[in-house]
Amino acid sequence: MALEEACVPTVAIHTHVFARLVRSVARANGMPTTRQAFVPQPVVDRSAAQLRAYIDGNDPISKRPFMQEIVEGLTRPLDDADRHGVTFARETPRLLDAAAADELHAQFLENHWTDNLPIVLPTEERVAQMLAGTSRKPNEVVGRMRPTFFREYWEFTVEKVAVNAVMAGARPEYLPVILAHAATGQTARSSSTNSFSVTSVVNGPIAKQIGMGDGIGALGPYNHANATIGRAYNLLSQNLQGGSVPGDTYMGTLGNGYNYSSTFAEAEDRSPWQPLHVGHGFTSEDSVVSVFFGGWYTHAGYGPRETWQEKFRHSLAAAEHYLPPLLIMDPIVARGFVDLGFDTSDSLARWLAENSWVTARE
């Protein structure tokens, strides 16, 4: 669309499963008649001959010859819709029409406003109680979010974050941590086909104050604060960014269990190393949320046994180069690495970086 704005007639080619998505993106950019052409999915792993057959065949969406769509897309004269695009404003009401609880639950489910698990309805009273957990004003803008870089940003306020926190079952004292997640602007519901997720770590005094889990089962469904803060982050991501709906604003091929909830506190008292946030310039008295984008595969079980070097090398070689791995360790494991001479987490990270090189082809 930027090329069109630069007066270059353009046709964008997509695989057919993206038809709904690319049309909604074009509309949200004010250019709904953007010329598009489609080939069947997949393109990945198809031979040159198979791809040529796509080109010689029909567009699976329009059912017309693919190359006819291409040539006409570049040469068909503009009509009124092409010349003007669309201008419109979309309003988000503060409150929904009054209805019975069952009807509201059905409405939230049908509108893709939940994670398909039961939610707590965000009544005015509950949202007001949630807002008591922060000194921030309800109408203060927290930030903007979008499911992927080619979509438009949606904006959100403290109150909208509180609404999603209520839905997740969070308590008012969790709200500052949930607001910190929201303020990152990093969606936990990326629309990428890679089915990404975000894992977050909470450091500092607030983790203990609100009872976050940093011990047995910290990454699982065994702590109310961890579970509901992580769930709130995912719910607010999908609802405040304009959706996370399969085929439209979500294209993850496999999906990801971490998209329900993936938040925990660091076991600062038991770790032999300095806390994560202190290593990034904060003091131990600061309360900090760190978010890690990725989470589309997990390797587990590498303690400092005799074969730890080989296992780490193999594991890191299998990691995609464009997303740094996140290492999470039980404090017992971390102390084992201290015994091996890694007196800081940085020293272990350096060893891993220096020993995980792969060839460009790999």
Binding site: V43, T87, A98, A101, E124
Partner: protein
């Protein structure tokens, strides 16, 4: 009577959409410079090469230029500027 509840709308605030017009179209492609933009997705290079082959066979009068952004999924203003500087049209492809 069933109790009626008033609840908040959980959605954020979308921006206002402002209409934009398409670029004027070409009367014909013959003699024009057409950029084939390989968006660097898996196997897109092979696809764009096949597309180039189609034009060579069926519309040989079209001047073809291949170009790639610096990275996949990242806007490349320099590449766009290069296309706008001497290109008459562009095809972008292709994902998954």
């Amino acid at each position: 009577m069933t109790q009626q509840l008033v609840v908040h709308d959980p959605r954020g605030f979308p921006p206002k959409v402002t209409g934009k017009q398409l670029a004027p179209r070409l009367e014909a492609l013959d003699g024009k410079t057409l950029y084939l933009v390989d968006c660097l997705f898996d196997n897109s290079e092979v696809f764009m090469e096949q597309l180039k082959g189609w034009f060579t066979e069926h519309l040989p009068g079209v001047r073809l230029k291949g170009i790639k952004p610096r990275e996949s999924w990242v806007d490349d203003p320099q590449m766009r500027a290069a296309i706008a500087a001497d290109g008459d049209a562009a095809l972008l492809g292709v994902g998954l």
